[in-house]
């Protein structure tokens, strides 16, 4: 995040730098500051109507637009990849309206907007990750009413959630939540980490970077400041466990990373490749070679030009 002057003109004529007007940015920054001050608490904010649909990242886009300065370097990912259509679209939006430098390299970015993943490479101090959030309320599917859930948070009355997790164990033998797995932030609020796979939950704990969450349709912003305790809910006899994969990445041979399953044919052929495409490419550049690298279609390898 860098300071920016209000007079900076946007490359797209007729709109302010990064689309939103400065008053709106100020309102959103206030919500962000409050969110940082009360980690995990959902701060209502006057979400604007954006030129992309609700549910497609309007919350994340508003947060990014409010913190972006002309010297920032922006990375946008969706499902871990820089090249999924919506990530391309959002990156292009900021190129057009803010003219900032964009990158696919996790290490180079100062602001990373994401949907559904946290990059494999740990974030450093000074980096900000902005999550797009569809349903910010972790208790929503246990209690549909906002008036009720706000009370439950205020009283830290989280019995419902523990009962839900317990019922999972009673029914299935383990907790059957694989993504949007609830966490407790700084020992106080229960928070929805957005629909990232629970594989990514440990990365949120004591992260050096600032984590901001924007839910546009639901008009909520929340945050985890750097170096904050984030605990995935569990029980002593059923400790939290992340997903494990039995194969390494078929392209870069990485282990201990989140993999996507790619269907190769209609006869059961499958390959497992890194969900984080940037991490995968960097490893291949460093000479790591997966078992199927040679016979993978060029498109999947990501070898055509960088966007």
């Amino acid at each position: 995040m860098t300071a920016q002057s209000a007079t900076h003109t946007a490359p797209e004529t007729g709109y302010n730098f990064a689309y939103l007007d400065e008053q709106t940015k100020r309102m959103i920054r206030r919500a962000i500051l409050k969110a940082i001050a009360v980690p995990g608490y959902q701060v209502p904010f006057a979400s604007r109507e954006m030129p992309m649909p609700y549910g497609w990242g309007t919350g994340g886009v508003q947060v990014t637009a409010s913190i972006l300065g002309p010297d920032d370097v922006l990375k946008v990912i969706d499902q871990g990849s820089d090249d999924t259509t919506n990530a391309v679209s959002i990156r292009k939006f900021f190129k057009r309206t803010a003219g900032v430098r964009t990158t696919t390299r996790t290490g180079e970015a100062t602001v990373i907007q994401t949907r559904h993943r946290i990059p494999e490479q740990p974030l450093g101090e000074g980096q900000v990750i902005v999550y797009q959030v569809p349903i910010p309320e972790p208790l929503r599917f246990l209690e549909p009413r906002e008036t009720e859930t706000r009370k439950l948070h205020a009283l830290a009355e989280y019995g419902l959630m523990h009962v839900k997790l317990y019922e999972d164990i009673a029914r299935h033998g383990h907790i059957a939540t694989t993504y949007a797995y609830p966490v407790e932030v700084a020992g106080r609020y229960i928070m929805d980490p957005s629909p990232t796979p629970k594989f990514d939950n440990p990365k949120m704990h004591m992260m050096a970077g600032l984590q901001l969450f924007g839910a546009g349709r639901e008009k909520r912003i929340y945050a985890i400041p750097p170096y904050t305790q984030v605990r995935s809910l569990d029980f002593e006899d059923h400790p939290f466990r992340i997903q494990t994969f039995s194969h390494p990445c078929a392209l870069c041979a990485a282990e201990g990373v989140y993999l996507d399953e790619v269907v190769m044919d209609d006869r059961g052929g499958r390959m497992f490749v890194c969900s984080d495409t940037d991490s995968c490419e960097e490893r291949r550049e460093q000479g790591h070679r997966g078992a199927m690298l040679a016979d993978t279609p060029a498109a999947l390898k990501g070898e055509s030009s960088h966007v």
């Binding site: 649909p53 969706d78 990849s81 919506n86 009413r145 993504y179 399953e261 498109a299 966007v307």
Partner: protein, 368 residues
Amino acid sequence: MYVAVKGGEAAIDNAHRLLAHERRGDPSVPELSVTQVSEQLGLLVDRVMTEGSLYDRALAALALKQARGDLIEAVFLVRAFRTTLPRFGYSQPVDTARMEIRRRISATYKDLPGGQVLGPTFDYTHRLLDFMLEANGEPPQPPAEADAGAAEGDMPRVTDLLDAEGLIEPSSASDCDTVGDLTREPLTFPADRDLRLQALARGDEGFILALGYSTQRGYGRTHPFVSEVRVGEVAVELVPEEIGFAVPLGRLTVTECQMVNQFKGSAATPPQFTRGYGLVFGQSERKAMAMSLVDRSLRARELGEDAVAPAQDEEFVLSHADNLQATGFVEHLKLPHYVDFQAELDLVRRMRAEHEANHPYPLSEAAE
């Protein structure tokens, strides 16, 4: 392939070029002008203005053309434009009693001061396809002289007549002291009536219609009468601080519906009719009427009624009335979800493996 591969940007650009091509349709057919849309599809333009919360016929018509006639997409374009507009002030409340009437009907009185004015309406038309229109037949006859201009004379609101007798709850001026704006402040619950009315006015016509209909079928019945529906032009006035008096900004066509609903007294207050209110841009009696039904139902808390039906549940109604929010979230399911799906795949496979380990024989055999 729409995800995961390099070159997504080119694919998106190409898709949009194709869209522009499809929008134009057969180039041998003359292109539709924005003026044609605003003049000849006027009610559609009205609806885009109402749900887009922006009174601008030309922009709404342009949005409809750009959206290939997709109503919600047109509302989207208008709203995304509206959000960038600066606010330079708030107008004075429009006075619908001073409306230049084009149509005004009351279902509660046979005749009343100002009379019943049918005006332009589909009511009582026989819905027979007019094949002359398809053949671009002769222009319609000019309207009859007496109906052409605005109705003459005094046209008091029917609810004001009831109010004079004390038969209906007063609609106090203090209601409009500070009016909220849900496009500038996040909506919180419980919401006051000003915000509820704003949400209903912007809300999807189909959704509000269905909810209003549900109250008539017993899900939170309110015993409504249309005291009045009026359509016409009202003046919008603004008081600039430096001048200190109201100056006219322009005129709006609006449809207003005042619903009169069954009374309920208490020990402290004698029985009185209650109100439901609807106001929309342009001519849309369906929306204004449905809105006033739902408005009345949403006053359940205030009037001490049990909130048992969907139309009385403000969190339910207000959270789901906006068609942009609804369509965005429904259609976002088109976005890639393969990371989460992978997590679910993994879990289902594991659970199936556990199930197989615990039940080595198929259930059907075990049962025999």
